[in-house]
Assembly symmetry: C2
Homo-oligomer: 389 residues x 2
């Protein structure tokens, strides 16, 4: 019996895994190809292990209507995960900003729980505006590993492979219906994508062992952002930095000192004795947020293979030889376009989420499902019935 | 029967593997701990997979007497590996420089074979000085994997673990005699080392499938270095860049174009038809050379554990809590200095080799063996006899 073609998901960060899981649950056959797999929780080229992974919007609804929708969908999912321990409530989270606009028009006051604007008497010195609410966090690496386990249960497969060109995904494969491109920063230089709008936003954090339960997000000084994010497992992430186009993977001692000093002032309970010396540091982390000028890209894209190298975006880094061999010629060269047969392939892009990958992931995955269905139709009926879980 | 304590080697790049192999052959029990293992040949935080790995000195004997000695030792080893196919001769290699000083006083004319200065008539236009000689290259990832196989045969063990502090290596272990620190760029931020002289020198290259057999190293334009390095396996590495303090891991299309244009002018045989379009590209690579201001560090270092965080170099990024618990107090916190017992540990440092890790690796490993023997003495006799292979 013929079976459905596969959907290949490129990338196993939180966005790729969420897309794959929503597709798998719908009955699609999903295969992952990625340089880093969910168990690679210390791989620094991989953004997902390093995230704070709390739910806190960065844009007003006017600035980011798509983002707001994705975030609402993810919030609902995370609420449902609280009993499992994968997500936890962050009650009475404090958010501080330098202007009232920094509170984003309070659009999510009905999404989170117990939202209230803080009166000046409840604001730290020097903070212009603030709000308190109950929101959620997940433990980034454990959350991704849980997504991967559910995917394996549903029959999804994982292949560790570093891809430099979209062409390598399709090479010798005739059962790929579509590729979901969740490559994060990889989208900057994978041939067939080469999206020059992609760039890193470097984040340095300190992972702390602490009983502290309150989340604080202080953006009141844009030069020196500070945040404290408790997560499942008795751990707290203290941050941070948002350094655009900075690829430096090594933690800076002076930055760590600055972060901890500010976080301690915000909430002395991160320390066992209220001093810097009493902060129990588990790790110093650096992660590169996969950002994109103009915002996330979630849309269908078509590509003609073989790629022919040119100065056009998306093809300059193509592999193989740029000159297709004449008809009838044979070539043993790996990756060379050995025949002139052209082929159009379909991608669904899902990358460029910067700081917001976790909190947007589930909503993005639902949009990606819609795009996939629009391109290749629903999975076969028999498979759907089997796959509806 | 009591057995020897272990030597832990931190890092499985070419330097760590070579040190481990020389120590294993001598009879030491060797255990590797590393974030990236030799099979991780596409991990970009890992410098070794991306090297050109040809033997070509960068310093005169006066500027780098240690380097020259290490390089001579490695050359001799590589000659012995030619029959195995792990190393290959690069006959009639061409080296071009902007001044006669760029030929480094010709110190290695008796190390390589058939060394001769090139007369002006044999120099490309615009090149001031040049030499031709027979040297060697290895295929970087295959070479490292071969070292790892020999190590496994000798009983060395490999543990995949990312270490943020030297303390984590010793935690709960009482059979570690000494740690060889071959962490490359990691030495910049691992607590207990925190060597601020470490920095990346970014290299972008294009891996090409080609029958080209001649190596060309053109440093005549310091702004735009170009090199062509054939390696075992019918592959050629075209480079390159030497960008100090640049951590950007994404290949640049314009840089790739610049590299290939220059390399094609140097040697049209990298292309099937003499044009850019006829160059068969296998991959675009970026690697971060683990450089160090002041040159490589190969020496013994002592460290007192537990580390206590302070502004002193080597301890600011220490983990755990900075304040040792009072005597008699107990702590369940991971990594916390739960008792006041101090312990001095010994490191042998071997890092900071920048572009020259491969060509210096074997000589460095011999020096490291001497330092290890000086610190902990030779391996036990019974073990030595068993281990002498």
């Amino acid at each position: 019996m013929a079976i459905d073609k596969r959907v290949v998901v490129l990338g196993t960060g939180v966005v790729g895994l969420s897309c794959g899981l929503v597709l798998s649950r719908q009955g699609y056959r999903v295969h992952f190809i990625a340089r880093d797999l969910p168990e690679d929780s210390t791989s620094q080229g991989f953004a997902s292990p390093w995230a704070g992974a709390n739910w806190t919007p960065f844009y007003s609804r006017d600035e980011g209507p798509r983002q707001a929708k994705w975030e609402e969908a993810t919030f609902a999912r995370w609420v449902s995960l609280v009993p499992s321990g994968l997500a936890m409530w962050l009650n009475d989270t404090r958010r501080y900003a330098d202007t009232d606009a920094g509170l984003l028009g309070h659009w999510y006051r009905d999404t989170v729980r117990n939202y209230r604007e803080l009166p000046p008497s409840e604001l730290p010195k020097g903070v212009a505006a603030g709000a308190a609410y109950d929101t959620l966090s997940v433990n980034a690496p454990l959350y991704c590993q849980a997504l991967a386990r559910e995917l394996q249960t549903l029959g999804a497969t994982f292949e560790r492979r570093s891809v430099s060109s979209i062409e390598q995904v399709f090479e010798g494969q005739d059962d790929i219906a579509l590729v979901v491109n969740a490559t994060g920063l990889g989208a900057k230089s994978i041939a067939g994508i080469e999206d020059s709008a992609c760039h890193p936003v470097r984040g340095q954090t300190v992972l702390v062992k602490s009983g502290c339960k309150r989340c604080t997000m202080d953006s009141s000084n844009p030069e020196a952002p500070a945040y404290i994010i408790p997560r499942p497992g008795g751990e707290v992430i203290c941050g941070g930095t948002y350094l655009v186009d900075d690829w430096d993977l090594s933690p800076s001692a002076s930055t760590a000192q600055r972060i901890l000093t500010q976080c301690l002032a915000l909430d002395p309970s991160i320390s066992t004795d209220g001093t810097l010396d009493g902060i129990h540091i588990l790790r110093h982390n650096v992660g590169l947020r996969p950002a994109r000028t103009g915002g996330p890209r979630v849309e269908v894209g078509k590509l003609t293979l073989p790629l022919v190298r040119s100065t056009e975006p998306g093809t300059a880094l193509a592999l193989g030889t740029a000159r297709p061999a004449p008809a009838g010629a044979s070539s043993e060269a790996v990756g060379a376009p050995s025949e002139a047969v052209k082929r159009e392939v379909t991608l669904v892009h899902a990358y460029g989420f910067s700081s917001a990958g976790y909190q947007q992931s589930w909503g993005v995955a639902q949009d990606v499902l819609g795009l996939v269905e629009g391109e290749i139709g629903p999975p076969r009926a028999w498979w759907t019935q089997r796959g509806k879980l």
